[in-house]
């Protein structure tokens, strides 16, 4: 089976959550030694984890972050505040344990694995050509799938790095989310007014080029990037491995969007850690119907917003598993 066939099949055969585990935790939450409903969203998070882990004893003790990195041809169009070789430099920093995500992960007790899916091998210029050939697309699918399959983890954090990739994210969001393309384009790493204009124009040109394409995965291949494709595949693979997923910011959520377009339930095993300051992210979250756990104005990517929320997920779980019910305490 080709990787692309695997992806289609895996999307078509996504398991639902374990309703029994979900209800067991919801019921227990209502009887825990605290006023009913006092933990509100955190109790809901615990039940969500339980449903996807298929156990009444949800945990977030072995969180793992996968950071996919790749380069983008569109970076040459001056759409970023940073030169393209920063992608490689940041990949090296993740691997040396020296970037922000590594520091956050140490606090959260999480592992971090940075995966090169195209650093130094930029995508095509999305204004005029496909980002990825079918072969490159398949390669990225395999990288995302296999990285998830190799994990020993109970919670997956997805992150990305790729200079130029908020332009790719905006093109996907606009092509699949509709509305004015410019409304999906923000300053990314902090581009100036001229750069923002270039970025809008690049996204508009790319979206216009693929106006007749309706298959969400083809949109992803045409205007996305290798790290986005790997993330899309990782989300799907996690679903088949009973692994709840914390999505990060705009780029990761844009990589998730094609799945939502194909099946409104495809992202039910995913939660959103943090709403990015990148304005398109809030629009995208509304589109996929998800409320972030955090809203701290961050706009770093590399999985940092998702990782920042991991201790909350861990607290939600121990708030169910490590606290007695009224009956257990008084009984």
């Amino acid at each position: 089976m080709t990787a692309t066939n695997w992806l289609h099949d895996a999307i078509a055969s996504m398991p639902t959550h374990d309703a029994e585990a979900y209800l067991a935790v919801s019921d227990r939450a209502a009887n825990i030694l605290r006023p009913a409903g006092a933990l509100a969203r955190l109790d809901a998070v615990a039940a969500w984890v339980a449903g996807w882990q298929r156990t009444a004893h949800p945990t977030a003790r072995r969180p793992a972050a996968l950071i996919f990195a790749a380069d983008h041809g569109i970076a040459a169009a001056g759409v970023s505040a940073y030169p393209a070789d920063v992608t490689a430099a940041m990949l090296a920093a993740y691997r040396a344990g020296k970037s922000t995500i590594n520091a956050f992960a140490a606090v959260a007790g999480a592992s971090v694995l940075a995966i090169d899916v195209g650093v130094g091998r930029p995508t095509g210029d999305i204004r005029t050509e496909s980002a990825l050939s079918p072969e490159r697309f398949a390669e990225a699918v395999i990288a995302g799938r296999d990285a998830v399959d190799a994990l020993d983890a109970d919670l997956l954090v997805l992150g990305e790095m790729g200079i130029g990739n908020t332009t790719a994210a905006a093109a996907i969001a606009a092509a699949l989310g509709g509305g004015e393309v410019a409304d999906w384009v923000g300053r990314g790493t902090g581009v100036d007014d001229d750069g923002l204009q270039r970025k809008r124009l690049a996204a508009e040109t790319a979206v216009a080029r693929i106006a007749t394409i309706t298959d969400p995965l083809e949109v992803l291949r045409e205007v996305g990037g290798a790290e986005l494709v790997a993330i899309t595949a990782a989300i799907v693979a996690a679903r088949h491995r009973q692994l709840p997923v914390m999505l990060d910011g705009y780029v990761v959520t844009a990589a998730a969007l094609p799945l939502h377009c194909m099946n409104a339930a495809a992202l039910d095993h995913c939660a959103v850690g943090h709403c990015s300051a990148e304005p398109g992210h809030r629009r995208l979250l509304k589109r996929i119907g998800k409320e972030p756990l955090l809203d701290l104005d961050m706009r770093l990517g590399e999985g940092s917003g998702a990782m920042a929320s991991v201790p909350l997920v861990a607290m939600a779980c121990v708030g169910i598993t490590d606290v007695p019910t009224f009956g257990e305490w008084f009984g």
Copy 2:
């Protein structure tokens, strides 16, 4: 010196933060290996911690929670969904390491100490008499101060337990914050409509009784509770020990309000972990000019909202201390 004199003197002599440490971290934040401003509020948190710890190397590695517990005479008026003896039961649960705050603290790597400042010794009925005599007030001040002085910690989480204490909090907030008393009264642990009416009436009667009192600490003594007084004193003691404070929900913030009324800078070493679902909390946060880190609809108290934010503070710190600058990385 009496405890009450200590409190007045300590409020009058509050140190300012270390501007040099604050600026050192703010400057470093602007040069760390990530886009300038990408961590937004977390970088601001790190600089805030640095200023109050008086070091350019801020940490949140030894967080400590103090949970003050006490009973309230007003509980007899049917203002809570739970009977008064739940205060003692929860105190026992904290000490057995079995409550939600203990589970959250384990995730955050924090210690938890629960301190009895009046369990089984209810305050006066605030509708008709002072909550605390000057002697009981002084005793609670000492308990709060000494608990902080005994800590080995780099970040202080303050929490409370006391059936009836959201009525006391509402009375303090209304007396010092102004406006309609009823607007400061919420459902607390989840009181029904009749209970809410009783609660409003109780707070209104208490506030009317002390209409001529303007000294914020006298308001606290008249309509507060022993755990609130201990928290007020703990906040002041922390300021003198270079210890940043994470405030919890409505009750803890109400205990902080008298300090803010006496000196607009008195809470500068305090941040707010979480905005409670108790509606008065958001009003109170606006009154003291603080933005919570989290907004998750929780309404548990016992320090849980503040504790939930502790990993974010820890991440903010390591995001400065454990990540190189561009200069350090590229050399």
